[in-house]
Structure formats: structure tokens, C-alpha cells
Symmetry: D2
Subunit: 329 residues, 4 copies
Amino acid sequence: MVLYQLLRRHPEVAGINLYDHKLTENEKLSQMVSAFYTDDTQVQPYDPKTIMVDNQMVFFATSAGVTAQLSQPYIQAGFPVIDLSGDLRLEDASEYQRWYHKPAAPQLAMRQAHYGLADFESAVHQTYVANPGCYATATLLGLAPLVQNDLIDPGSIIVDAKSGTSGAGKNPAQATHFTQANDNLQIYKPNQHQHIPEIMLELQRWNDDVAAIQFMTTLLPITRGIMSTIYAKVKPGVGGAQIDQAYATTYGNKPFVHYIGEHLPDIKQVVGTNNCDIGVVYNPVTQMMVVDSVIDNLLKGAAGQAVQNFNQMFDYEETSGLNLQTFLP
Amino acid sequence: MVLYQLLRRHPEVAGINLYDHKLTENEKLSQMVSAFYTDDTQVQPYDPKTIMVDNQMVFFATSAGVTAQLSQPYIQAGFPVIDLSGDLRLEDASEYQRWYHKPAAPQLAMRQAHYGLADFESAVHQTYVANPGCYATATLLGLAPLVQNDLIDPGSIIVDAKSGTSGAGKNPAQATHFTQANDNLQIYKPNQHQHIPEIMLELQRWNDDVAAIQFMTTLLPITRGIMSTIYAKVKPGVGGAQIDQAYATTYGNKPFVHYIGEHLPDIKQVVGTNNCDIGVVYNPVTQMMVVDSVIDNLLKGAAGQAVQNFNQMFDYEETSGLNLQTFLP
Amino acid sequence: MVLYQLLRRHPEVAGINLYDHKLTENEKLSQMVSAFYTDDTQVQPYDPKTIMVDNQMVFFATSAGVTAQLSQPYIQAGFPVIDLSGDLRLEDASEYQRWYHKPAAPQLAMRQAHYGLADFESAVHQTYVANPGCYATATLLGLAPLVQNDLIDPGSIIVDAKSGTSGAGKNPAQATHFTQANDNLQIYKPNQHQHIPEIMLELQRWNDDVAAIQFMTTLLPITRGIMSTIYAKVKPGVGGAQIDQAYATTYGNKPFVHYIGEHLPDIKQVVGTNNCDIGVVYNPVTQMMVVDSVIDNLLKGAAGQAVQNFNQMFDYEETSGLNLQTFLP
Amino acid sequence: MVLYQLLRRHPEVAGINLYDHKLTENEKLSQMVSAFYTDDTQVQPYDPKTIMVDNQMVFFATSAGVTAQLSQPYIQAGFPVIDLSGDLRLEDASEYQRWYHKPAAPQLAMRQAHYGLADFESAVHQTYVANPGCYATATLLGLAPLVQNDLIDPGSIIVDAKSGTSGAGKNPAQATHFTQANDNLQIYKPNQHQHIPEIMLELQRWNDDVAAIQFMTTLLPITRGIMSTIYAKVKPGVGGAQIDQAYATTYGNKPFVHYIGEHLPDIKQVVGTNNCDIGVVYNPVTQMMVVDSVIDNLLKGAAGQAVQNFNQMFDYEETSGLNLQTFLP
């Protein structure tokens, strides 16, 4: 629904049709999503043929396991798709099944889908874009300058990632019950989070020495936001100035990623925006560095990055429809 | 489970048997309730005959609708019961069905059950005690001195009650999903809360002029605690001194209810204790008064008051097993 | 600072000069307000002559007691001012001193200042607009249809108002220390809040039968938002349909105030917007009604309403620069 | 004040005298600490002679820099002291000044003071006990089995520590203002926290190969609790079974430290108790392990451990006065 709100205000978007694959006949959005009680837009039953006739492209904002089944007609027709789920982010069907515990999309489709890490990959000329996961986005943006420039020991990467509850599923569950989550910190999925394989794939595209990473996910008593605190051992001979240079160069001209030096950002400063703020501290005593990368999991971690991919796909201004602002405090 | 923790430390309790009416065979507590993962006490399948043979009394900590069905054997045998649910708090079966939307207990049983507002009613010689609801407890304790002494216009009572999420149901639900509850305030059940009829019954026992009250419930983004903010119009001729006197006298010797004058208490100061703190401010300009009554919904609002009733029933010290303390901050 | 962010994006605003009356020489905004660490706009020392020469109007976002002293030059010159503080909201200097405990502005200036409740009063042709307080805004918008149409007993108004911590002062203080505020509910200023006199003045402009109101303020463990829960006795002969009609008519064409019938709004649904959502429930049994009025205290309760007044003053579109959106959840 | 509450209920404590070095004459506790508004105990002006005459031992619960100045009389008299501050935890005066930025205690006193990590060091026959810091306690307990048994690469220790706001200072400050802390995560003091030197000292007592550690501290939007998430590379040849064995053996008979295997604990499960719960996960792919160690920063991290040291010092039962319970949820 955040995606819908973004697209409603996008200057290049002429109209939006909404579909739901659980409907059999039209239903008002106001009846389906209580937060949109003033919006009477008709949501239509899902039908690929209708979709491809009435629209120029389609966004899929579905749970894991859905587009693995539904993507084929679009791929065959070469119809543009931006998929916010994890179903086509990986390259191997059995890998997908191992991490997601659901049947995978056809192997070929997975190979062809473009991994839409928008600040590094271009979606121009792509027809199927797999939008990255939220944890993956924060982590990859935090690591890119180090891994691309071979500045760290590839076997030393540790990610201690923390997320607000809006990234942990919309359906009520025990861990996100206010009574359980409030005033608490809960580690979940140590080394099991399904974003790990896509992080590995992209890191290995940048540097095939990366073999494995340590990845912990913790549930924070906040609504929105992700902080990826990344630790890595720096290679001998590499110093603070080189690291600073790598980040400054990599992110000097990317409108949505802000390298802010040694100032380690709070989560709150990016919530409500499509920004990723990154701070880096190098400790010469331990030769270890810490990267603090923060994003809003619903914007840069999902809908915002999807709109970035959309802008690339259709050759619009990179920042079109993403001129967001958070009202501090 | 808070009740179990209290009873485990109660000096007069020799042993505790746990039963669950959904079990068919014994199961370890550690397997059933994750928070008790170190406690391997056997939980037994529910069986009235076994219960009445192996124990001297039984506490029911079940959801609405259960004891309405299960209470009969105990009532017939005159076996002591303290029931934490709302099933036998009222006096009329159709009234119960109207508010709880479930089949009621037999009318006679409802009439015989003792409404266990421990600070005002005595459970001595009682065999079936219906433990009051949390909102009801906070509200009745806040109103008692005014209503018993006929100091207010009985038609002017407004209760603006606020509760933490642990009072709103253990099962994950939309309203208590952290993402929905955090940083938010949600009014629910305006004038519909099922505690209203029991509040009315008790108020009318004190003063049959009370006809109806306004009762709003709001969900707070906190884990525990209830604040009942009560407004009422003072009768002509009644002044601040009289009101203060009524509260001081009523609560002068009750160990768990503290009248603290014009200091309006925070919720946090009672959480973790069996106390009800009450502050009162009288506004001579509007001739209206405000009562601020706070309790811990799981202790004074449920398990703690149940232990008070237990102590009365078996003639133990009033504060036995209830010498609780909250570690501030 | 929220005001600054709004004005930066206002289509009719060509430039913004920032001043601070504590500076003696220019200073970068990034050095003064950490949240704006990327903004190097020069903040200049405060000087009325410079301000009136370099600008077409001035907003004052200062604490209580400042504009009481600084407003004179502008009033004398007839230079347009929108003042977000409470200093010129009242009409009587001794009344101001009684509630704010500070020296008042000149009596004549207070009489001349326009009380900018934007949805009801017009700032066209006004030179000094006193922007209403946050609690006052939520409360007055909630009460207007009832008081203007004489539907309630004017002596029965009770306001139970709750606010997040961003409305309770920016300077660190005991009550807003996270350890004190978290997981807690704190009543403060019963019947003492300085918004009471301005609420009374405006209510009396609508209906001079209103003599006094009961007004309680409670601090919520949330960052932003105000909920005014208002209770009032309905006049004999007035029914639910009439009340509904009054709200529907009053707010039918006001872009920022949404009457949503019996649906009682959450605070979260208006945070990040300039909207005031209002729900109303009438209880025929007690003949009492409840109004639930919610706003974002920093937007509709301050900066957003200031921009509304600005738009009126300079004859811009009413919604200009206020096309805000909150990204749910 | 948590210490005072614990001691009031300690079975071996006959009486408690309270002193404050800022007072010049007696003052009631109820007047000094609002949370204790019912306690009229006299707090006396600080005077070492009086203290040593009227008492058998003294606890210091003062800020950094105070006992560095005040400890001498007690050390000279051999009068038993338990000091909750960091002033005598280290061994070197210049080291103290480097980390705490205050004048240090005499070097000799610092050498003689006993570092009271109660679960590993014995305070029997000690006269001056320096109670460890909260972060230090959680971290050392989490690391002990690994470092004592030489199971990890000593240069690979990374600590990502998270704490609630009650550990970050009682005085209102910007970072702990509810508006700043709520819904946020803030990294502070990367590699600068003053607990680092004491952690290093104790680790080196166990294994002098430990040269330096990476230590990050993050402020959580919760009131109480600390989670130390510790990462370390396991030595070649060491496997999961050995690690599990080391933890089970080390903590098999310590009443307050619970090794719970691969179950990674929440913060909430220890709040209100004097327990440290520890979970450990070994990842054979990266040969890295994660230790999750949680404590209540005010109990196990301060007052609770102080009472453990007190029990050792006076040869009481180890668990005396520490039979605490948290009422879940």
C-alpha cells in the first residue's frame, strides 16, 4: 500500500489499476484496507490477460510463493514486471526452495530476472525486475564500497541487523504482539533469514572471494526502519583514508545514498524518505571496521526502490515521484 | 500464569496442580508456555472429579464462556472456586448473553456467585467467587467513596479508561499488532465493554440512584497498566473537604488501596504491585471532579485480587503472598 | 523546524531567511540543529529592521514570552506576522500573565491580533495572526458544530486530552525522559493548561453561554499526535441525526477537517498530515456524547495551520504547500 | 534506589542508613525522590566518621568521580565498602583518567580494590569491592567459557551491545528525550564506552592473549535491559559440542547465570530478575559463533550483583535477598 501511495503522486503515472488474486469480483479499496477508508477505488479480480491489456506494466506486491506461480504469462509476453517479492531474486530453484520452503519459479525465469539493486544495477531494457529485500538493500549498500574495492577480508563479514515490526509481517503473530514486542529485543532467524542468499549472490558478483557471511536479525520495538551494523576485518595495508575515499567515490553522485563519514546515523533520520544513510568507523587497534547503514524498510527497502526501478525502466528522472520528506522530530 | 507465579510463592500454599481443559493427557508446562521453559511441572487434563479429590479449592483462569459451562459440578458439591472470568459476575443470564455473546451459566448459579471486589466485599464463607474484571476494579475503587456517600449526581458519571495491551487479549490480533499499536492511541468499544454491566451492578448495590454511566475504553501503547479517569458532577453543597474526607476514611485502612490526595498517579507507579493508587481533584469552578485510579491490570486487576479473595476465603492474612514490589524506574 | 520544512516546499515561497534572537553573528543551520546536518543555510542574528526590509512577512516560532516583547515594531509598521506562540492569542494582559506566568504584550496589541483558527476564521487583511495552540486546535475543531449550533449543555463540557511528547517541550525534562515516559501514562496540568483561556475565548465567540470547561492533559508514550476526547451532555430534544447533520454541514467543504461519522479515529491516521479527523458517538441512554478529535500536534496543531493562515493572508490556494501524506502503516 | 529496595527486603539486613554527600542536614527520602513519596526515612548528610560508627559496611551508589575522592578513609580503616561506580574497577590511575575524564583514586587503592564479578570472583575477605559495570557484566558472562577455555581467536572478539535508557543516565538529556529515543535506534560511543577497559582487564586475567576488542553501544527504545551480542571466530579444531560443553560446565552450578543452549534469549525474560540468560549459536560454515547474553541493567548489571558481593562478603547464602521474580508478560 505504500507503493500505491507513492504511485498516486508520481508525475509520470497516468492511472493505476489495482488487482487482488483472492477476489472473484470487484471490491472497493476502502472495504479491503481499513487505513484507506476514504478511497473507493475499485480493486479488480486478478487476471493476467486483463492486466496486460489495460496496463503498460505491473507491480507485484505479494507474499513469498505467489509470483513463483503467477509470473510465467508476463515473462512469455515480455510484459514489464517489477516484483517486490523474493520469488525471482535468486538464480537457482532448489536454492529458493531451501530458503523459502515453497515451490520455486521456473529456473529459466529466475536466471532471466534482473536483480534490481537500483543504485548499482540498471533496469533499462529489463522486462522482469526482482526488487531486493529490505535487509538485503541496507546490507548491500553498506558493503558495496568495501567489497567492490577489495578492502576487506571476505571471510570476516558479520552483519548484526535490526528491524522494526513493519518488516516482520502484516499478519498478527506472537512475536509482533505488542505485549511481546514492546520494551523487548528479540533475536530471530540467526543465519536463517531468506535475504542471505540474495546478499551472497550480489556480493559475489562484485567479488567472487566472498564465500559466506554471518547474518543475524533482531526485532526492534519500533514501527519502521532497519539498521544494518556491519563488521569486517580490513585487509593489511588498507587504512582509514582509503576506506573513506571508497565510500565518498561510490556514493558521491547517487541521489539516495548518503555517505556521512564517521557520524553513525540513527534509524529515525531516514524514516519517511527513500534515503540510505551510511556512517563508517575504522578502528586501527583491532583493524576492524563498523558500517552503520540505515533505511526505511517500507520505502528504500521496498516500495521506494521499486519506484527507482520503475523510473529506470521507463527512462524517467531518477528521483521522479521520490521527492519525499520526513518531518522531524 | 501470573496467578501461578503468585501462588508458587504464597506461604500458605502447599502444592499446586495445573489443569487444562484442552488436554487429553499430561504435558509439561515448559512445552505449553514458552515463558516457562524452565518449569517442567506436569499439566493434567481437566477433570472435575480429579480436581475435587486432589485439591482443596480451584482457580479458573479461563476465557469468557468456559466456566459458564464447567462450573456446575463445583457449585453442586459446594467446592470452593475462584473464577477469574466474567461468566458468573452478573446476576442475569440474558444480560450476560447480551454483553458477552455466549451462552450463560445457569441463572441460579449466577445469583449465588459472590462478586469478589476484595476491598469492599468479604469472601469469607463464600464457595463461588467471581473475580472482577480489570477495568471494573480500577473504576469501582475510584468511584466507591463518592457513590457510597452520595456525593455526586448519579447521572453524570463519565469513565475515560485506558489500558495497556496485556489487557486486550493474548491471541495476536490486528489492534495489538505492534505496527498498529505502537505510537498510537486507539479507542475501542465505546460504551460496549463487557465490564459495564458488572460496574453498574456494584454501583447500584451502593446507591440505587445510579442509572447509567458513560464508559470509553482506549488502547495504550504500553504493556501493562490501566488508568481509569473518572469525571462526575458534584452535588450542590458538597465541597472539596468532604470529598477528601470520604476518600481518606474509606481507604484509611485498606492495605492495597492508596488515596494520595491531589497527586494524580502515573500508571507506572503501580505496575508490578497489587496496589490501586487514587488521586482526586475537585474543580469548584465547574463543580466537577476528576478521579485518577491506576492499577496493574494483571495483578490488582486479576491475579492479585484473586489471591486477596483466596486469603479471605481461607482466613489468611489479607496481604499474604501479596507483598510485591516494583523496581523503579 | 517543521515550519521551515513546509515552507521550503511551498510553491509560492521564493526564499526563506532564518533568524535567531540568541545569535550575535551568522551561523550555519547545520551547526545549530543536528537534524539538519546537511543544510548549510545561514541563520542570521535577529534584527527587526533587517527582517522588515529583506522579507515580505515573518513567522515567529518562539517560546512563550518572546513575542510579547518583540512584536511591537511589526505591529507599529503594519508588517505581516504569523506568531506560533501563545503570546498574543488572548485579549487581556492580566489573563495572559495568570496562565503563562510571564510579562504580557501590550493590551492593545493583544486585542488587535487575529486568532488564527484557520478553518473558521479568515486571516485575509490581517497583519498579526496568533496561531492557535495544538490542544486548542484539536478541541475547538471537535466542539465547533455542537457549540455553534447550541446542541449541548454549555456547562457540561469535559475534555480528556492526550498528547505525545513532541508537544511537551523540546528541552530534556524529567517527565519526558524516556525512562519516565515509556510504558507510562502521566496526567499533568489538570485544569491548568495554558490553552484553556484561548479555548474559552473562541467558544464564547460562538456561544456566550459557555462559562467554563473541564480540561485534563495526559502525556502519552508516543512521539507525535493529540487526541482530544470530548464529553458533553446533549440538550433535551436534540438527537443523533441532528448532531450528525451539524458535523456533516460544518465540515462538508473544509479540506483539512474530516468528519468520519461514528468511526472513532486513531491518532496514527493523521500523523504526518495537516488533517483533523473527527468521530462522534451519541449515547441516547445517558444523553451524552463523545467526540474524538485527532491531529498531528506539529502539523495541524502548529506549523500546518500556520501555513493555512499564510495562504489566507496572501490569497493563495487553501491547500497550497499542504499536500502532505503519511505513509501507512 | 533499586539497591535500597533490595536491601529493605534482605533477610540479613537489620537496618539501613541513607546518606547523601550533597546534603547539609537531614531530609526525608519522600522529599528527595518522587518515586518514594510514601517513604519518610531520614537521609543524612554524608560524613565518613558517622558512617563507620553507625554501620557495619557501606554501599556507594554514586556517579563517576565521587568515590575516587571519597574512598580513602574507608580503605585506611579497612571498613567494608561495595562501590557501584567505576572509580576503582581499573588498576591504573592514568587509564581511568583516559576513559572517564576525571581525576582518579590513588593508584594503590585501585590496585587493592577487588573487581566484583560475583559469579567468578569471590568477595570473601575483601574490604573494597568495585562492582562491575552493566555492559561489562553481560559481556564478561557471555565470553567467560570461551576465553577461559581458549576456544576462540582472541583478536576476533566483536561486541554489539544494546541497552535500554535506564542505563544511559538519570539526568534528562537530548538522546534520552522520549521524542528522540522513541521509535529510534541510536549508536553512541563506538569503541569509547568506559566499560571497555574493565572488560579487557578481566578477559586478560583469564587469558593474556586477548589484546583488544571491538565494542559498540546502541541505545534501545526500551526502559530496562541489556543485550550483548558477541561474535568471535572459533579456533581451528574447536566444534559446537566443545563450545556447548564449556558453557554447560562453567554455568552448571551458578544460580544466577543460565546457559540455555541454542535458544537465543529476549531481553524481557530477565528484566526484574538477577539472572543472566545466555544462548549460543555456532555456525560451522563461517566458523563463527554468536553469543546472546541478556541481563537487567539495574539488577544483575548493578544492584543485584552488589547484593551478591554483599552476600559473599558477609558469608550469607548466595541467593539471599535475591529471590526475585518477573511477572510475565
